[in-house]
């Protein structure tokens, strides 16, 4: 086999180790679902969550079943207890990133 000539190109990048598991099932029915709202603690974030909640009301979501959660710091993951509470007490969670 002939030796390759020229200038080699090496890939300096690292790909993320992404879990191939699929997203949670969507059954298309929002009525009766317990929704969690995770506010990242950035100003205005809670308003966005409430706006989304109201928009989903028209699709059958009951805002009375909503629970609100908040990260302690916007730049850090939420506490484990917060994730545990959402996993136990919610059927779906809405969050957002950014300023």
């Amino acid at each position: 086999m002939e030796a390759q000539t020229g200038v080699p190109i090496f890939d300096p990048s690292v790909e993320p180790d992404i879990d191939p598991s699929r997203p949670a099932m969507r059954d298309g029915v929002l009525a009766g679902k317990r929704v969690g709202l995770l506010w990242n603690s950035k100003p205005g974030g809670e308003k966005l969550m409430h706006y989304v909640l109201e928009e989903l009301r028209a699709s059958g979501l009951d805002p009375a079943l909503a629970r609100e959660f908040k990260k302690e710091y916007d730049t850090r993951p939420a506490k484990k207890e917060t994730y545990d509470a959402m996993a136990e007490g919610c059927d779906l969670v809405i969050t957002a990133v950014g300023d």
Partner: protein, 347 residues
């Protein structure tokens, strides 16, 4: 290490790295397998040995990729121990690499180097420390940026959402001018043994000039305190003050140690809480213990002091952290030789 592809010549290779988005916008040095091996040998790591893992990005960064980016940045093999220490410091959760690299705040990794390695590899500590002209300063800082882009995905407009960023994102590395400092060097102040080279990393804004050509100790420090009271930079957290040798010598005539300087600055810097509220800077309770005055630092020890710059000129710099309320703090690490790193791995 196998190439991903081949090109005809050096110019084509440089264009290929651009085309694939693997640069910081400037041309890179096309690496070779032999060159990468040299870097790894001086660093004391194997190609597939993980240097750090960033859980939020789901990425484990091997030493081989760090070496590739270091060659691309224009580093010399002797820079690898400093670069490896820098990345280890940045991977410490206290530094907050994921958020600082993604934030609209546009943080740059500021690095201060202490100890014998400064002169061993030609790091600039004198005039023009924040400017061009010295390979070690330029290339090591650049290598950090290339690792962030290529290895943790901090690509502008994607996972780097800086609104404007700052020029330090190209490279923001300098050495402390220990020989011109009237105080103990940063490494000694923070408890490292004499003769140990260290790196200190903090995610920061760009430098704010502290200009005072005619004042004496208190005049210079009052100028610094006023600079630290910048409304635009008022987010509680750590900061660096880099005093020029001239300023440091004048200050030291009255302030014998860094602690005295820090306390003076802490007591005299800050903005009125009312101003923070009127301008919409804060909507939550202000921090600080002095009623009505909100300091930048949460504690005098949030103010880190180093001495560097040309021996003439009344210019120092205040460099505030990116973070709010210490969500990213300064992290220091020792610079390990290849032998020390291999020995540590065996432990």
């Amino acid at each position: 290490m196998e190439p991903a592809s081949w090109t005809e010549d050096t110019h084509s290779a440089i264009e290929e790295y651009h085309r694939r988005g693997w640069t910081d916008g400037l041309p890179v040095v096309p690496p070779t397998g032999e060159r990468v091996a040299e870097f790894l040998a001086v660093g004391g790591m194997a190609e597939d040995e993980t240097l750090f893992h960033l859980a939020e990005r789901r990425r484990s960064v091997p030493a081989g990729k760090v070496a590739l980016n270091a060659v691309m940045a224009g580093c010399l093999p002797g820079y690898m121990p400093v670069l490896l220490a820098a990345l280890e410091a940045m991977a410490d959760p206290d530094y907050n690499l994921h958020s600082s690299a993604a934030s609209t705040g546009g943080a740059a990794p500021l690095m201060v180097v202490n100890g014998p390695v400064r002169t061993e590899i030609g790091l600039n500590m004198g005039g023009n420390i924040f400017g061009p002209g010295h390979r070690a300063n330029a290339a090591i800082g650049r290598a950090i940026r290339l690792v962030l882009i290529n290895c943790i995905g901090a690509v502008p407009h994607l996972l780097d959402r800086s609104t404007q960023g700052n020029p330090g994102k190209y490279s923001f590395t300098f050495a402390e001018y220990e020989e011109a400092s009237p105080w103990e060097p940063l490494s000694a102040e923070k408890g490292f043994e004499a003769g140990r080279s260290t790196v200190a990393l903090l995610a920061t804004e760009g430098p704010h000039n502290i200009q005072n050509h005619y004042g004496r100790a208190r005049g210079i420090l009052d100028t610094a305190a006023h600079t630290m009271s910048s409304l635009g930079s008022m987010s509680a957290g750590q900061s660096f003050i880099v005093f020029s040798p001239e300023h440091a010598a004048l200050i030291a005539k009255e302030f014998r140690d860094k602690r005295a300087v820090k306390e003076y600055l802490f007591d005299r810097s800050g903005v009125p809480e009312a101003l923070l509220r009127e301008t919409g800077k804060i909507t939550t309770p202000a921090w600080g213990e002095t009623p009505g005055r909100v300091p930048h630092a949460l504690d005098p020890e949030d103010i880190w002091i180093a001495v560097a710059g040309g021996e003439a000129g009344g210019h120092s710099a205040w460099i505030p952290s990116w973070s709010r309320r210490r969500n990213g703090v300064t992290v220091m690490r020792p610079v390990l030789s290849a032998g020390e790193r291999r020995a540590k791995k065996k432990e």
